[in-house]
Structure formats: structure tokens, C-alpha cells
């Protein structure tokens, strides 16, 4: 008997050792449950952060654009006629009014990691007889690379953007038969034409993007799109991509410009992610519930089996509180020990999975981050669930009438 352990602890340990088979069975059950939860959580979190990282690599979390132009029908005061159909106005390419001021304002927000001005518009890339319609993006490379991970995607050449340089995707390079150092002509609908040298080729792993996107210097794009001194949008990177919508609203409120978050522009994608999170939560809930029911049923059986012994403990002067704690402790202990084994099990699953799910080049498909907090939360959660599961049997034991327990 450990001299420093309180009565409840000593009795709880002995009771669990006495029913060792039951105790082990339920600990294994809890361990499996926690293992599944840890594995699923890490897997889904890894999957999501992976998808988000890949997606947000070429999508800015927030894009700030000039407010939409609306048609305002002009009517004389006396005219009673009411226009039933108002044709929406076509949106011409415009600059953000006083964009430097807006940029400074946005960069000052604490949630904003980086912001970069962008001039973008449609154009044609021509080489010899071949031509391709492209989406031209004029950037300031230094600040742009802080928002969009273009630098990691360069597969040939170096990312240099002087006034006569351009960066194109692998698909466009193939279509036009161009390589690093070759010259292409870019034209736009407003009549701008420039001949630029390909300094680098990127591969975003997306055919459409690789075919359409063309990066040029900010000034080059301003000239081509007839937007001298202006920018068409500001791309913003934020700390927490899931908070992008709220931050976008803050920006909208502060600058009077229109700010669209990736959550709004990729609603479909975001819904899919949210559904995934929800199903993960549901799985966790039901696995947790199953473990809790297991613990509760084992303890209920134990209370029934030991009712005479509990009665005699009570007759000897053990208080209701002591009996209650005795059983709560058993639940907490089984939850905690089960969760420790379960965490180890989940960890092992993840390591095995990381070794199996590989890209053809041998790198893991998912970068699974083993976060200590996940294990701590699982352990704390399982202990709590175990304690809660023990509440009903513990109360039942504490309420046992010693006279009835001994007699019956």
C-alpha cells in the first residue's frame, strides 16, 4: 500500500487490478478509439493544410479591386417613367484610386502578412505564326513573392523581371515553342505591343494556369494595358487563411474598395473543406462516445458485482463522497492510460502511413505534422470522457444503501 496515496486511489487501483481482464479490455478499446482519432485528425489536418498550401500558392487569400461600377439611370424630376430593366454597366479596366495610400493602409493591419500591387488584364502572346490568349499579370517581384509562392515553381531560368522580361508557364512555352532566352510579342486589346524576353518558366502543376498566366514587370503591364501609374488590384496574404473573409470585410470598410477573400471566390472548394472538417468532427464524436459507453458499461457491471463490498465499505464509515471518487478515479484512469496507448498507436499508424503514401519521386504525398498538442488534447479529452462516463455508475455506487446492499 503506497503510503502517500489516498484511500480512493488505493481502492480504485485494487478494484481495477482485481478485474484485470475487464480493465485491460476497456483500456484497449479506449486506445483503439484514441488511436483512430489521432490518426484521422493528423491525416485530415495534413491533407487540408496541404490542399490549402497548394491552392493558396497561386491564389491570393484576399484580392482588393476598385469598387464595381454601377449604372445610375438619370431621370428628370418630372419624369414618371420607371425603368424596369437596368442594363448592368460593362466593367472597364480601371486603376484603384490612390492605390499607394490603400496599400499602406492594408499593410498596417496586424493580420496582414504581405500585400502587393498587381496590374492584370487580357492579352495575346505571339511567336512567329503561333499565338495564344493569355492572362497577363504585372508584378513587383519583391513584394509579390511574399504573397504568391511563384519562386518555388520556377523550373527553368531565373525569376528576373526587368521592363523587357517576362515569365511564362510550361504549357505556353510548349505551345509557342519558346524557351528561356527566346523573345515573345505581347499585345493587348488597347493596342499596346511589347517584345519581351522569357527569363524563366514556371510550373504550377495546373495546366490552365501554366497555359494562360504570363508575368511581366509592373511598369510593362501598365504600358500594355494603358494604365499608366495605376494598378488593377492589390493581392493580400494573411496569417490565417480561414479568417480571410473577416479581414476582407475590415479592408473593405477601411478603404472603401472591394475586397474578395478566397473563401468567397472559391466557395465550392471551401464548402468541401468545411464538410471534411465536419465529418472528421463527427467521427471523433462517435468514436469518443463509443469509448465512453464502454467505460461506463464496465463500471456499471463493476458496481453491481461489488455492491456488497461497497455496502460494507459504507457500513464501516466510508463516506458517499469517497465511494463516488473511487469510481470516478477508475474512469479517469482507464481514459488516461487508454489515451496514452492510443496516442502511441496513432503515432505508429501515421509513421507507417507516411512510409506508404509516397509520390512517384519518393517524397511523401502528405506532409503530416505530428503536433504534440494533438496528443495532449487527446489524452486530456479521453481522461475527461472517462471521468464523465464514470459519473453514472459512481453515483449509483455512492447512493447504495448499505443495509440494502448487505441484506440483498
Amino acid at each position: 500500500m503506497n503510503r502517500f496515496a489516498p484511500f480512493e486511489w488505493i481502492a480504485a487501483m485494487r478494484f481495477m487490478r482485481e478485474g484485470l481482464a475487464q480493465t485491460l479490455l476497456i483500456i484497449v478499446g479506449v486506445a483503439l478509439g484514441v488511436g483512430v482519432i489521432v490518426f484521422m485528425s493528423a491525416l485530415i489536418a495534413g491533407l487540408q493544410s496541404n490542399i490549402i498550401r497548394r491552392t493558396l500558392n497561386y491564389v491570393a487569400p484576399i484580392v482588393v479591386v476598385p469598387p464595381e461600377q454601377v449604372a445610375r439611370p438619370q431621370r428628370g424630376e418630372r419624369s414618371a417613367a420607371l425603368a424596369t430593366v437596368v442594363q448592368p454597366r460593362s466593367q472597364q479596366l480601371r486603376s484603384i484610386d490612390q492605390w499607394q495610400k490603400a496599400l499602406t493602409q492594408i499593410r498596417r493591419l496586424p493580420e496582414v502578412v504581405a500585400a502587393t500591387p498587381v496590374v492584370s488584364g487580357p492579352g495575346f502572346a505571339l511567336r512567329g505564326d503561333a499565338s495564344n490568349s493569355v492572362s497577363m499579370t504585372g508584378i513587383e517581384p519583391d513584394s509579390y513573392l511574399q504573397v504568391i509562392g511563384l519562386g518555388d515553381k520556377i523550373v527553368a531560368g531565373r525569376l528576373l523581371l526587368g521592363t523587357n522580361d517576362m515569365v511564362i508557364g510550361t504549357e505556353l512555352a510548349r505551345d509557342l515553342g519558346a524557351g528561356v532566352g527566346d523573345k515573345l510579342r505581347l499585345t493587348t486589346a488597347t493596342g499596346g505591343t511589347e517584345t519581351l524576353t522569357v527569363t524563366a518558366i514556371f510550373d504550377f502543376g495546373n495546366k490552365g494556369v501554366n497555359e494562360r498566366n504570363v508575368y511581366v514587370g509592373l511598369r510593362t503591364a501598365q504600358n500594355l494595358l494603358d494604365l499608366t501609374g495605376g494598378v488593377s488590384s492589390i493581392n493580400v496574404k494573411v496569417q490565417d487563411p480561414f479568417a480571410a473573409e473577416t479581414i476582407a470585410q475590415t479592408i473593405q470598410g477601411q478603404t472603401g474598395l472591394e475586397a474578395d477573400s478566397w473563401i468567397k471566390t472559391n466557395a465550392q472548394f471551401f464548402t468541401a473543406m468545411a464538410a471534411q472538417s465536419l465529418s472528421n468532427t463527427l467521427i471523433r464524436f462517435f468514436v469518443g462516445l463509443t469509448a465512453a459507453l464502454g467505460i461506463a458499461s464496465v463500471l456499471v457491471v463493476s458496481v453491481v458485482q461489488k455492491s456488497k463490498e461497497i455496502g460494507i465499505l459504507r457500513a464501516m464509515g466510508t463516506s458517499r463522497g469517497q465511494v463516488l471518487r473511487l469510481f470516478l478515479l477508475q474512469g479517469a484512469f482507464m481514459g488516461l492510460v487508454g489515451s496514452l496507448f492510443g496516442s502511441a498507436l496513432g503515432w505508429a499508424f501515421l509513421l507507417v502511413w507516411r512510409g506508404i503514401a509516397l509520390n512517384p519521386d519518393g517524397t511523401p504525398i502528405f506532409v503530416i505534422v505530428l503536433e504534440p498538442s494533438l496528443f495532449l488534447i487527446a489524452a486530456a479529452g479521453a481522461t475527461l470522457v472517462g471521468t464523465l462516463a464514470a459519473v453514472i455508475p459512481a453515483r449509483r455506487a455512492a447512493r447504495l444503501d448499505p443495509a440494502v446492499a448487505i441484506r440483498g
Partner: protein
């Protein structure tokens, strides 16, 4: 006032079961009983006469429906649940027909259990006291055995030692030898007598066995919930 020498006093104690239902049945019809300190009394009577019920009422396991119950001068009806539990743990020791030892613990630990529950943590003093008690009931050699490894007589002697762990003023024994063969029964009875003689502990022993009752100092006879005879007895046969 109640004299300090009085361990137990019952005045007009009544006990009914299923009160308020058509099945209501009064088991004890006004019991008056006093036990002085150091008495060694037998409670006899036919099955169904209310012996066990009376013992449960005296043991504060079942509250009476009417009448007064005083243990060492303390009125039981004035106590709440926690105080009742405390008084029961401190003043009363139980020995049942079945020993109800905790099989997960050794003989010594079972004897320590009431003190452990009261104090919360084990200490060397309660261990020494428990060892002393086991010595008194002649089980020193078996004190570290799990109770399932002991014989019926030995288990019952552990239960007696446990009943004495809190140094109670009153020990209630319900057929303490009912499950034992004659030889073991004699052994357990001898232990009870010895504790009574050495420590002045008051005993009330429910028994069916006239041979056993004849060895007590006083015989109280209960029939149909009433005390019909209460006489002193000169112990016979040791």
C-alpha cells in the same frame, strides 16, 4: 441524562417496511433495550422475528420510524447522513454471517480499511494497530495473504479484527458463526469473548445457536418484533 457507562439505549423503537403502501408491515413493535458498557449479550429468536432488522436499526444502517435510539448518549435522529456515517464508522463495528471482506486486499489491509477510509491516507500507526488486531485473532501468519486464500474461519476472524479496527464501543454480530463448522465457530466465538474481556467492548450477538447463546452473559429473546424475555445468564462451557 444518560450515564457514560451506557453504550446503547432504545426507547419505543418501531420499524416498518413499505410505509405508506398497502404492503406496509411493522416489524419492530416498540423495542426498549439498554446495553451497559462491556456487556456480552445474545439476541435470539425464531426466523422472521425481526432480529436482523433490529440489528440494522441499532447499527444506524436503517433509521427507525418511531422511538429514540442513543449510541453512547448521542441521539441518532438528530444526525444527518454524513454525521451518521461518521458515528457508525467510529462507534460501531459489524460482523456479518458472511465476512464481506474485500478480495482485492490482503487480510492486514482489510483490517486497516475502516481507519484508512476515516483518515484518508495509510500510515504506519494504523498498520501496526491492524497487525496487533490480527495477532489478537490469531492470524499473524496469514496477514499478507489475500482473503480468498484463507479458510472460512480465518476469514471470519479477519472480519472480527476489522470490526475492532476503529476501537468501537459496540460490536454488532449477525450470526457470526452461522457459516462455520463447529470447531471454527468455537474459535471465532472465543475471539469475541476475549476481545470483550480484554477491552471492555460491548457485544450484541444475533444467533440461532442455543449452544452459543448459553455462553453469553445475557440472553434477549425477540418474538414477532417484541422482546419477550431478557435475562442474565451464567456462561457455561467456557
Amino acid at each position: 441524562m444518560v450515564e457514560a457507562a451506557e453504550t446503547l439505549r432504545l426507547e419505543g423503537v418501531r420499524k416498518s417496511y413499505n410505509t405508506g403502501t398497502p404492503l406496509e408491515a411493522e416489524v419492530l413493535h416498540g423495542i426498549d433495550l439498554r446495553l451497559a458498557r462491556g456487556e456480552f449479550a445474545a439476541l435470539i429468536g425464531p426466523s422472521g422475528s425481526g432480529k436482523s432488522t433490529l440489528l440494522n436499526v441499532i447499527g444506524l444502517l436503517d433509521p427507525p420510524n418511531a422511538g429514540r435510539l442513543l449510541i453512547e448518549g448521542r441521539e441518532s435522529s438528530s444526525l444527518d447522513d454524513a454525521q451518521t456515517t461518521r458515528l457508525r464508522g467510529r462507534a460501531i463495528g459489524f460482523v456479518f454471517q458472511y465476512h464481506y471482506l474485500l478480495p482485492a486486499f490482503t487480510a492486514l489491509e482489510n483490517v486497516m480499511m475502516p481507519v484508512l477510509a476515516a483518515r484518508g491516507r495509510p500510515d504506519s500507526e494504523m498498520r501496526a494497530t491492524a497487525a496487533e488486531l490480527l495477532d489478537k485473532v490469531g492470524l499473524t501468519r496469514w496477514r499478507d495473504k489475500k482473503t480468498a486464500e484463507l479458510s472460512g474461519g480465518q476469514q471470519q476472524r479477519v472480519a472480527v479484527a476489522r470490526a475492532l479496527a476503529m476501537k468501537p464501543a459496540l460490536v454488532l454480530a449477525d450470526e457470526p458463526t452461522g457459516n462455520l463448522d463447529t470447531q471454527s465457530a468455537d474459535g471465532v466465538f472465543e475471539v469475541l469473548r476475549k476481545v470483550n474481556r480484554d477491552g471492555g467492548t460491548t457485544f450484541l450477538i444475533v444467533t440461532h445457536d442455543p449452544r452459543l447463546a448459553q455462553r453469553c452473559d445475557r440472553i434477549i429473546e425477540l418474538v414477532d418484533g417484541r422482546i419477550v424475555a431478557d435475562r442474565p445468564n451464567v456462561p457455561s462451557g467456557g
